[in-house]
């Protein structure tokens, strides 16, 4: 049982380049999330999805896009990378309900130079 799988683990981008961070979960969870974590700043929600075909903005969506074509996959797209997007990105999923556990991937450490 793999849980939440994120790729890649590390990436260096040049300013203006684009990339997609992949996230897959095998637990049939409805809710999926993308967070960024900067040192000392906790987890900031970028986008989330409550099911296939449904996505919504979080606190810091600018510069990012997402899609949710299947229950399993929730890729995050950076179109024009900027130094401000240097961060660690985490994908998470959880089941329906308020008190359900959030399962996280191992994270992607992205540096934009």
């Amino acid at each position: 049982n793999a849980g939440v799988t994120q790729t890649p683990k590390f990436r260096i981008l040049k300013i203006g380049q684009s990339m997609t961070l992949q996230c897959t979960q095998d637990m049939n969870h409805n809710y999926m999330y993308w967070y960024r974590q900067d040192p000392g700043m906790g987890l900031k929600l970028i986008y989330y999805s409550v099911g296939a075909g449904i996505t919504d903005k979080g606190e810091v969506p600018n510069g990012y896009n997402v899609s949710r074509s299947t229950t399993e996959d929730f890729p995050l797209r950076l179109e024009l990378a900027a130094p401000s997007q240097t961060s660690v990105y985490f994908c998470a999923s959880r089941n329906l309900g308020g008190a359900t556990e959030a399962f996280f991937g191992q994270g992607t450490r992205l540096t934009v130079v």
Binding site: G42, Y48, R94, A102, G105, Q106
Partner: protein, 114 residues
Amino acid sequence: TQLLEQSPQFLSIQEGENLTVYCNSSSVFSSLQWYRQEPGEGPVLLVTVVTGGEVKKLKRLTFQFGDARKDSSLHITAAQPGDTGLYLCAGPNPNAGNNRKLIWGLGTSLAVNP
């Protein structure tokens, strides 16, 4: 402003000491969760508290949910180096109709020195 305030932000102690970290809010939460995050990893759930006044124990860790469900604490007895990490509290958005999002505190970074 953070909906969930955690304190202290940093804590460095010696092995064997006891400690308590706090998670406070002015809002009522239906439940609160505590996660631990180790360097280079994603957060992992430690416990979920649901009932006001609830106390849960996980080996040397004791979690309490406030009677009014606005706060929670985590007490560690005889801390060990393996307890080192970032402790995060989280709860479903208390705003009516949107518990799909989790609200996160900024965390308490704990270092337990041998």
